[in-house]
């Protein structure tokens, strides 16, 4: 199945190197099973590459998405509230479609950030539970975690947050293809 194929390689430019390229990040070079906190120049470089990757996705750019954090199999992406993204003008609440796009992108980024370095990924399915309306005017962030990955499938969960950090706007779970 070719599936959706929307998340390309996290290449800096062309086929020059994956986000998990040896040159870019060496999470496993020194310590075995290194899953420590993402700090230092490697992490910075990884984040810079992910930002560059997102910049090249026209729809992510159109929505104003920015990668704010990246770790092994984890990603956080933020975007600004804008009046044109509103789903109900009587309340100013963001449309669910915006939340979907953000969650989907963030889940894809988490898959790409897995230490095994997938070449690309595509959404197989994504379920979103909308727990409450996002507060009008507040920026929205998604946090995604790839909690299991096989040779060909990645399982991801995510949540969307506004300023009220402990009270998610929505949660998502999805299955993604893994291209090796």
């Amino acid at each position: 199945m070719r599936a959706q194929g929307r998340h390309g390689r996290m290449d800096a430019q062309d086929g020059a190197g994956r986000m998990q390229d040896d040159d870019a990040v060496a999470p496993r070079a020194g310590a075995a099973g290194d899953a420590g906190p993402e700090i230092g120049p490697d992490a910075d470089q990884r984040l810079a590459l992910a930002r560059q990757f997102l910049e090249q996705i026209p729809h992510a750019r159109a929505l104003g998405m920015v990668v704010t954090a990246l770790g092994a199999g984890r990603a956080e992406i933020a975007m600004k509230w804008r009046p044109e993204f509103v789903g109900d003008p009587r309340t100013g609440v963001l449309h669910g479609g915006v939340v979907s796009a953000l969650m989907d992108t963030c889940c894809g980024a988490a898959v790409m950030a897995d230490d095994s370095g997938p070449r690309s990924t595509a959404t197989i399915d994504l379920r979103i539970d909308y727990m409450r309306a996002a507060k009008p005017g507040q920026d929205i962030r998604a946090r995604a975690e790839c909690f299991h990955i096989t040779r060909s499938v990645a399982f991801v969960r995510a949540s969307a947050l506004d300023d009220d950090d402990g009270n998610p706007v929505a949660t998502a779970t999805g299955a993604f293809t893994v291209e090796r």
Partner: protein, 166 residues
């Protein structure tokens, strides 16, 4: 029972005004570029292709979020349209394009599950929704999107919605 002798122009104007009010009241629908074709009570959502909808520039392919959003927009408009049809036809509501609040509030999405069946091509997309159940409080909707071939959908979704009260 519909009035057989009601002037055709009046019938069309009533329905088109209601649809324009419903769709025009949502900024995000305009931003995404979705419009609706109407044949009687049947709605087809149309998403003309645009570069800013791309999620994978290498292929290229539509962004999965665009697909999800298009399906959700189609489901919400389809559900609202079905829910207001009787009131609209009976003249119990008077939609006014200049006043989005002349229509009942929109349903709220409880959950929405998208299946991605194949890659979304850089082409126009179409979607139709089917109301599986419309209750007083909850509704279930199925929606399917296709591009070149109606029989080869590239995505489908099911969602549950909370209907506006009062």
């Amino acid at each position: 029972m519909a009035d057989r002798n009601e002037p055709l122009a009046q019938v069309k104007s009533r329905r088109d005004t209601a649809l324009a009010t419903l769709v025009g009241g949502v900024p995000y629908i305009a931003w995404l570029g979705v419009r609706f074709d109407r044949r009687g009570d049947e709605l087809t959502a149309v998403l003309p292709f645009a570069d800013r909808l791309i999620g994978n520039p290498m292929l290229p392919a539509l962004h999965g979020g665009v697909t999800a959003a298009f399906l959700e927009v189609s489901a919400i408009v389809g559900l609202t349209w079905t829910a207001l049809w009787d009131d609209m036809e009976a003249g119990r509501i008077a939609p006014d394009v200049a006043r989005p609040d002349s229509l009942p509030r929109l349903p709220k999405t409880i959950d929405f599950t998208v299946d991605y069946l194949r890659s979304g091509l850089p082409r126009d997309s179409y979607a139709r929704s089917r109301i599986l159940r419309l209750g007083r409080r909850y509704a279930s909707v199925q929606v399917e999107a296709w591009q070149d071939n109606r029989d080869r959908p590239f995505a489908q979704a099911t969602g549950h919605f909370l209907m506006p009260q009062g």
